[in-house]
Every structure is written in structure tokens, then in C-alpha cells.
Symmetry: C2
Subunit: 229 residues, 2 copies
DNA sequence: GTGCGAGTTTAGCCTCGCCTCAACCTCGTC
DNA sequence: GACGAGGTTGAGGCGAGGCTAAACTCGCAC
């Protein structure tokens, strides 16, 4: 085990993508070549070729015509990169004051280049944090992730209360929108009203009385933990 | 001006190498293909090809059979990378506690990847420092370098006093040796004795009475500013 | 002035990593 | 059992960078 011979950036990106696609639903399930291709913005042929390569590398198992799934080794690669990404996001924000909506792009490139030694220094400096600025859990040094079950804000009935725990880091627009309103993961929230037919959800955050309208797409991206009713 | 289309890492490395070779002597002079090839550990043919490419890119002027020199644009590329490198070295040491002898290797890879925005954040965080941990001057944001004239410790006559200002960051062995003896750039020194025929130089540093023997190679790598006699 | 060798350049070729297009194959459904 | 959506394969391209070997300069030594 522990082959660890260096692996191109593309391999890391594919692995990361498979990891995330595998657990879209509530259960880990194989990922189709096309989904993968779409996610990464490449042709189906490219994805197919890369999947074959990952299989050869022992990072994934490819059942032709039936999708791909990561092996344990593959999951480790994905989690390693994820750990880098999230540590970097937090680090860039907290230590260097980079704006919330820009840390993702920076981390996206640095994650592939961060040495283990530097990773360790950063983790130590940050006090081995459990989540990044978006509320996403940071895999621990031994690459385990405490996956909590969350629901999206859009599913919460009017009157629900709980804690806003995370939001995807992928869309800077959303992040700017939330940042401009001082809405951050970790805050308590309450759903005040929802308009029908995919209309906005109205909610309050923290101890602030202001009611914020949150469009469908946004409400869907915001993950919350409901207060045990 | 300001073409700035992305340029491979190799281009940055060659540019950096030319920059440093150009000013080995006291005066900026053309660099031969062979020197360049040797410095970078590639064949003469490869170096020649790359030099031609740099010329095409407007980063260098190549006088066939007579060497290459950087254009202003080329020097800017080199200084930009140098700035990245040295800021990173200082940052890694000061903020992340990486050991002195290891920051160079880390910086060597990160320097090619650092965005301008991050560079600015790091510089600000460090208070826009003038030198890195090895005593090398950090090019300013507008890419000027205050080059001071130094001599090597090896040239200093017995009895000379002054300040140890810098040492090459390239050899981790040397750095470990110096670090283990608490010898650092910025300290005052005095040459106590020298043995003939390339023998060691004996010197004291800071307010410490300990006399340290410094082999020829090491003494040659240590740059000092002599006290105005 | 010529000759010769060290230093340069050129030419041809290779590897690696990744991508595309287009043709072809499979699976599951009707 | 045929059809179409989706998956796979193969041929090929491209950029970056490197290597060898042969051909060519330049300029010093005679």
C-alpha cells in the first residue's frame, strides 16, 4: 500500500469530482461517465479515458457501461485534496484577509501544490479546525470526515428554526450576496415566510430582526441543521 | 505593453537563472548558453531552444553565439518571481514556523503559482519587508531592488569587522550548519583568524565569544558588509 | 592567415498529459 | 428484436519541455 507516486492535477480533479458526485444522493452510488464529463467541462471521451486510467491506478473501479466508484485509495486522494482545499480557504480568509468569495478560486490552484509538511503547519496554525469558512467539514489528518446530515433551507417549513451550517463555495455571487447581508454559517435562523411556486424563502439570521428574501437557488444551496423540534 | 499572457514555469525558471547569471560579476553581462544549461541541469540544445523562445517572447535578446540578456520585460518576469520567492520564504518561516533550511524548497514551487492578489496580502501581512530570512533583498511591488555591494567573508582580512548580511538559500546543508550555531544574517561579525591554502576562516558572531570555523565553501557563500574602516 | 577546438545552433525525434472528434458498441426498454 | 441514449474506443492533435547528434561559428594560437 501507500504507493503515493505523484499524480497529475487532472487525476486529483477527477477524483474530487467523483467523490462529490458519488454522494449526491443520500447513499454512495456509482457515477456515470457523462455526469463526470459535464461536471468537469470535458468531452465524454476524455472522461472515459481518464476513468480507465484511474482504474489502472487503483484509485477507482470502473464497471464499463455502469459507472465508476472510488476505491479506498481513490477516496484518500480525494479527501487529501479536499483537506488541502478547505484548510487553505480558512487560512486565506483568517490569516490573510482574503475576501470570502475569492478564497475558493485561490484554494483551487494551491490545493494541488500544497506539501504535506505545509499542510501540517497550516493546520496547526489554525488550531486543527473542523470546518472551513463555508461551513464545510475539513477532513482530519487521518482523512475521516464527520458527515452531518443537513437539509436545505428550501425544504424547511415556515416557522422552522435551527442553525445555518454551510453553503457551497462554488458560486462567488452567492457568497457575496450573503456576505453583504452578514449572513454566515454558524448563525441561527428562522424561516418566516415562503412564497409558493419556487418563490423566495424569507428568513431571519442570528439576533438580527431583518428578514432576508432568499431566492430558490440560494435557499437550495444553503444547508441547515433543524432544531430538534 | 503588459502582455502578461500566461507563461510556463520553465520560462520563469530560465528567466530567473539568466537574471542571476547576468549579474554574477560586478557588471551585468550576457549569459552563455552553456552556463545556462549547466545551471538548470539541461542539455545545451535545450537551453538554446528555450533562449530562442524567450527572444521570441520579447523577454530576452539573443545574439547568436554571443549570449543572451534579459529585456526589461524579462527582468520584470524574473523580479516578479524573485519577489514571490522571497516573500514566501519569509512568510513560511515567520508565520508558519517552517525551518530555515526548508523554506527554499517550498518557495521554489509556490513562487510559480502565487497570484498577485495573494502576494499583496502576504506582503501586507509581513509589513512589506525589505529582506528575506537569508538576507536577500525582496524586490518591491514596483520591482526595484536595492542592490547593496557586499563582499564574501572569505575575502575579509583577519581582523575585519562588519555585518553578516546574507547567504545563499540554495544549500540546506549550509543553512542547517549556520542555524545550529545561531549564526544569522543581520549579526555583526569579526574575522579572528584564517588558515592558508583555502583553509577555514575563524570568526565570531553577534555578542557571542564563540569562534566558529567556516570552511572555504561556506565562507565564500556568506556575504558581508565591511565596517567602513 | 589558417586551422582547429570549444562552444552554439539546428534538426529530428521523443515523452507526457490531456484533450477532441467520430465511429462504434451495449444496455435496457418497448 | 430493434432502437436510441449513453458509453467506449481509436486515431490524432497540441503544448511544454527534453535529448542526441550533426553541423556550424568564432576567435585564439600558431
Amino acid at each position: 500500500m501507500s504507493d503515493d507516486r505523484p499524480v497529475g492535477e487532472a487525476v486529483e480533479d477527477y477524483t474530487k469530482a467523483i467523490y462529490s458526485l458519488e454522494r449526491r444522493g443520500d447513499v454512495v452510488s456509482p457515477v456515470s461517465t457523462n455526469e463526470l464529463a459535464a461536471r468537469l467541462g470535458v468531452s465524454a471521451g476524455s472522461a472515459s479515458a481518464m476513468v480507465k486510467k484511474l482504474d489502472g491506478l487503483g484509485l477507482a473501479t470502473h464497471e464499463p457501461y455502469h459507472g465508476v466508484r472510488l476505491t479506498d485509495a481513490g477516496a484518500r486522494v480525494a479527501l487529501e485534496v479536499l483537506r488541502h482545499h478547505r484548510l487553505l480557504e480558512l487560512f486565506l480568509m483568517q490569516e490573510l484577509g482574503l475576501p470570502w468569495d475569492r478564497v475558493h478560486a485561490e484554494a483551487e490552484v494551491l490545493e494541488h501544490v500544497l506539501s504535506e509538511e505545509l499542510e501540517a503547519c497550516i493546520a496547526a496554525k489554525l488550531g486543527h479546525p473542523a470546518t472551513d469558512p463555508h461551513g464545510d467539514p475539513i477532513p482530519t489528518h487521518d482523512l475521516s470526515v464527520p458527515e452531518s446530515t443537513t437539509s436545505s433551507l428550501e425544504e424547511c417549513p415556515v416557522g422552522a428554526r435551527g442553525r445555518f451550517v454551510r453553503v457551497s463555495d462554488a458560486d462567488p455571487e452567492m457568497l457575496r450576496y450573503l456576505a453583504a447581508r452578514d449572513i454566515r454559517p454558524g448563525q441561527d435562523f428562522a424561516v418566516v415566510e415562503r412564497q409558493p411556486f419556487g418563490g423566495p424563502t424569507f428568513a431571519t439570521f442570528a439576533d438580527d430582526d431583518a428578514v432576508h428574501p432568499l431566492g430558490g437557488e440560494l435557499a437550495r444551496a444553503m444547508r441547515v441543521e433543524l432544531e430538534p423540534a
